[in-house]
Amino acid sequence: MTETEAMTPQSIATTIEKQSSPALACYGLSKRFKSIQALDDVSLTVPRGSIFGFLGPNGAGKSTLIRVVAGLIAADKGQFEILGKSSLSGHKVRQDMSALVDRADFYKNLSAYQNMKMLGRITGHDSDEHIDRLLNLLGLYKRRKDKVKTYSQGMKQRLGLAQALLPNPKLLVLDEPTTGLDPQGMHEIRDFILKIAAEENVTIFLSSHLLHEVELICSDIALIFNGKLAAQGSMQNIFDNIGDVTVELEVEDSAATLTFLEKNDLVSQVTPLAHAIRIEIHYSKIPELIRLMAAAKINIFSVSQRNRLENYFLSLMEGK
């Protein structure tokens, strides 16, 4: 009997449902550590194909949720699904998921290749070609035979990403992957995440307290405070609902522009800087202001938003 012949309407329906199910769905997850309620009835949905930013201040519950999903700790209440598989199925729920939780640590007395080989063996993804391809993708191929104890933290983080990609996951969970890295290392990891998402067709669930980092790479976000989910949605939806944002304008004639802006009702606050003008304006009014400035023959060199997500984040925190 072939696979097609064995299919029934129910199995086809189940297959379609699984294919359309989110990459990750959490339902009422709760976890308590002694007197601290680390997670309090958290429910969230990570769409397939997204780069999902999971934001919150230190101690908000980001790492706890990730550890629950990664199987490192058990939730007191609630359950979750990964690509349609329920956490009630035990460790099998993580069949299509991989994780890099916190700092990447390895068996230091083994080489990158040996670490990868050993980890790949667990899921049957230990062919030399596959390992070499991933080490090459993460820029570690030339150092693959060197012991991990000789690696910099940035290299270890990249190796962490490489090991997470070993089982060809459909969902990649990354817990603060740029922590402890210098600006160049952070930049490299961000680039790798975008590259992986595009080339490997992986949904990425990324926790971070670096708002700028999330704003740069994420398509969807969720925010958590004191173990409770405060907001979630696509980045576009969230920005559409943002009130005033800070915008910096680089213009040719600062004096004339200042006069123009001070008279304009769209702008709520104007601050001249050394080489630019900072304004506070409602997010949705930015295009209209630019049109008006252009009509007034003001030559604009650049318009850049500052701390858009930070403003939103802080406004939510203040409301809590």
Binding site: R67, A70, G71, L72, I73, A74, G90, H91, K92, V93, R94, Q95, M97, S98, A99, L100, V101, D102, R103, A104, D105, F106, Y107, K108, N109, L110, Q114, M118, L119, R121, I122, T123, G160, Q163, P167
Partner: protein
């Protein structure tokens, strides 16, 4: 099968650590040294034994031969080997916790039970290799150095065992010793599941071992009633392999208690590990 793959990984990790070779290197140095010393300093013992028993018995070969030397070394080291085994057993879970490697390893789609079984299997294979190496080294080197002969056992007087029966008795003795060492490794694993540093389980294992050993050997009436239930009471049960006849009932009674302790320590270790939150 996933258990074998994981066990292979665990063995790979164990044998990539320098500490795993400390005991093996130590014995490789000290056993030949003892055998050399044994050859240098037993002439008067030999003469004394010969003068006292040669009128009653015919002793084939030298009374201080390789078998007797191996028996002598076994007596000497049964309390030291546990410490060396605890170095590996104590590190098997706690070392991963301390190094943060569990965060990478335990996120794989494998059950905690599989991880536990593979770590226990790898530790027991290491224990077997250690005891086997110790046996080969003492017996093999002892026989090569001091030759074959009837074996002298000092047990309520002197017992002379035929050389043709000695190897069988050593096999039995090493088999029971191995089970005792499996218990030591199980205790080390139990402590290893509880803490996040590799030193604690080693100290914990030895502290428990020494404490129970003291209680089981102190000739005080207050401890007499509990001594039959303490595993250390049976730690020298391997000596019974050299009695004539071998008291099999006693040997297996002791083995029963050793096995039940192994099951208990590993069982509790498994419960702890399955419920453990891997936080750092």
């Amino acid at each position: 099968m996933i258990i074998f793959t994981l066990t292979r990984n665990e063995l790979y990790k164990i044998f990539s650590l320098v500490r795993s070779y400390i005991g093996i290197i130590l014995f490789t140095i000290i056993v030949p040294l003892i055998l050399w010393g044994y050859g240098m300093g037993t002439s008067h013992i030999e003469a004394e034994i010969e003068s006292s028993v040669s009128e009653m018995f015919f002793i084939e070969g030298s009374p201080t031969n390789g078998f007797t030397a191996a028996y002598f070394i076994m007596n000497f080291f049964w309390i030291h080997i546990p410490f060396l085994l605890a170095l590996v057993g104590g590190d098997i879970f706690a070392g991963e916790q301390a190094n943060g490697t569990f965060r990478v390893y335990a996120t794989r789609p494998i059950s905690r039970l599989s991880i536990f079984i593979s770590k226990v299997m790898a530790t027991m294979i290491y224990t077997f290799i250690f005891v086997f190496y110790f046996g080969i080294l003492t017996l093999g080197l002892g026989l090569a150095w001091h030759g074959v002969g009837d074996m002298l056992v000092f047990q309520d007087g002197v017992l002379i065992l035929e050389s043709s029966d000695a190897l069988r008795r050593f096999f039995i003795a090493y088999s029971f010793s191995f089970m005792n060492m499996v218990l030591v490794s199980s205790i080390a694993i139990f402590f290893s599941t509880m803490v996040r540093n590799a030193v604690g389980p080693v100290i914990g294992t030895m502290a428990l071992f020494i404490f129970i050993l003291m209680v089981s050997t102190l000739p005080l009436d207050v401890f007499k009633s509990i001594q039959p239930y303490l595993f250390t009471t049976y730690f020298s049960n391997w000596e019974q392999a050299f009695y004539d006849p071998i008291p099999w009932a006693d040997l297996f009674r002791g083995l029963g208690l050793i096995v039940s302790n192994i099951v208990m320590f590993l069982g509790i270790g498994l419960i702890i590990f399955r419920r453990k939150d891997i936080l750092s």
